[in-house]
């Protein structure tokens, strides 16, 4: 019994794969069908995951005796007053907790990981190295960090006019080269993904000899 369902599953997956790839050529009914199937399944999937979230983050705690968890559950339902004509603002209590906890938890970590630690790492560079390419590299490294930061200075327009502008332009050049590298670097990973799907179509669906 399982084999029929698996074989049928492979056919469904293959047709949906071709439907998605067909969009790259033209938008067509087959893609529109796959898109609406995908959104439909994803809606169902997200709804089930949300119920799981309400259960694991809320109801399980409540049943485990942590009575305080009734507060977020009430606020959760209060959020649906958003559709109410006059009491719409009641939704803000739930959102204010999400925003307060979410924003604070993330931005406070940025101070170390993406600010102080990055400056410390730059300050820790020992420029002179045995290998001349590395020494030159360190000089270029420092210049790139400094000019890129210089490029982003917004409220001192005089730094971006006249001869001072060359520093900002240098920053832009370094970023351009970095973007060229990062762009080309991802080509192989994207091709690897497509190879995976082509292997599925060629060997699992069409059953060509390996």
């Amino acid at each position: 019994m399982a084999d029929i369902w698996t074989e049928c599953g492979i056919w469904v997956a293959a047709i949906l794969t071709i439907a998605v790839y067909s969009f790259a050529y033209r938008d067509n009914p087959l893609f529109k069908f796959a898109e609406h199937t995908f959104v439909g399944v994803a809606v169902g999937y997200s709804f089930v995951q949300a119920i799981r979230g309400v259960k694991t983050f809320g109801i399980d705690h409540l049943t485990a005796g942590e009575a305080l968890y009734i507060i977020p559950i009430i606020l959760g339902f209060l959020m649906y007053f958003r559709y109410h004509k006059t009491l719409y603002w009641l939704y803000r209590y739930g959102i204010s907790i999400i925003v307060g906890v979410g924003i604070a938890a993330s931005f406070v970590r940025d101070i170390e990981t993406s600010f102080l630690a990055q400056i410390a790492a730059t300050a820790g560079i020992n420029i002179i190295k045995a290998d001349p390419a590395a020494t030159l590299g360190n000089i270029v490294f420092l210049a790139a960090v400094a000019t890129t930061l210089y490029y982003f200075i917004f409220t001192f327009p005089m730094l971006h006019t006249g001869r001072a502008k060359t520093l900002a332009d240098a920053g832009r050049w370094f970023m351009m080269l970095a973007f060229g590298y990062a762009f080309a670097k991802t080509v192989v990973t994207r091709y690897n993904l497509m190879l995976g799907r082509l292997e599925f179509l060629l060997f699992e669906w069409l059953k060509l000899p390996k």
Binding site: V187, V188, Y191, L195, L198, E199
Partner: protein, 278 residues
């Protein structure tokens, strides 16, 4: 007005580009072209260790991956077994994963030992899934017959010709493990390398290399990532699914580089034409 050929090439419609891409990726998948492939020093080292095995040496090969990571890890294991079966060595295969036997079946059909004239029970044997992780490694090392009473097919070990006088780790020249798990890769060091000093070769996922590098080369004689299977296949002349992907990368990248060159030539020709014409 219809586009001149130069304008057509310079702004090639996407349908043409995408069709060329699919052809460049699909053709090498079906028929490997065997394009030149760079061999990294790590893969060369792995091969040299296998070549250096004396005749009749015993090698423990542990298929330490499950069905989930099979696509990523199997090609390297297949190439390793091809390399081992080229030589006159005794290969004892086992697995620490409950779904390891499924991987063994898929593996052994691809390697096809009969082609090398290898006989089950004489040249190679499969002990099946041994539960317990590091405790299994330790048990096999200390007393093979006590730890594994029968092989995967149920024949008692003492009736298997090649395992008669094999008691444990000290009778093995080498242990090879291919695994996505850091604990397993490091477990073999603790149970086989430190106590018995056996030559240990480990193949892991690329993202785990940083965690394994500290052990190389002191405890792990040869360490590489499974993505290099194509190189190993090219080195031992056994094209498989690893080299097919590398071929597809080569063809697709070369197509892209040529396309960019053509586009730029057409661009400059157009500019010259306009300047000339204006």
């Amino acid at each position: 007005m219809a586009k001149s050929p130069l304008e057509y090439i310079e702004s090639l419609p996407r349908e043409i580009i995408y069709t060329i891409l699919i052809i460049c990726l699909a053709v090498p998948l079906v028929k490997p072209l065997g394009l030149p492939v760079p061999i990294s020093s790590r893969v060369k080292e792995w091969h040299q260790y296998v070549e250096g095995l004396p005749d009749g040496a015993y090698v423990l090969v542990s298929v330490d991956y499950g069905v989930g990571s099979l696509p990523a890890l199997e090609p390297f294991m297949v190439a390793t077994l091809h390399d081992l079966f080229e030589r006159n060595v005794k290969v004892v295969i086992m697995t620490l994963y409950s779904d390891g036997p499924i991987c063994y079946e898929s593996l052994i059909t691809k390697v096809n030992p009969d082609a090398y004239g290898k006989q089950y029970g004489v040249d190679y044997v499969f002990l099946g899934y041994i539960p317990g992780g590091e405790t299994a490694m330790k048990a096999v090392a200390e007393n093979l017959h006590a730890a594994v009473p029968t092989d995967y097919y149920g024949t008692p070990l003492n009736q298997i010709p090649m395992l008669k006088d094999i008691s444990g780790a000290s009778d093995f020249a080498m242990i090879i493990s291919v695994t996505p798990s850091g604990d397993v890769a490091q477990g073999w060091i603790r149970q086989w390398v430190t106590p018995y000093g056996i030559t240990y070769m480990s193949c892991v996922l690329a993202m785990m290399m940083p965690t394994m590098e500290p052990y190389y080369p002191a405890q792990v004689k040869a360490l590489t990532d499974a993505g290099r299977a194509g190189e190993y296949e090219y080195l031992i002349g056994k094209p498989g699914s690893g080299i097919r992907k590398l071929d597809a990368f080569s063809v697709a990248h070369i197509m892209l580089i040529i396309a960019i060159i053509i586009a730029n030539i057409a661009y400059f020709a157009l500019k010259a034409q306009k300047k000339g014409g204006a």
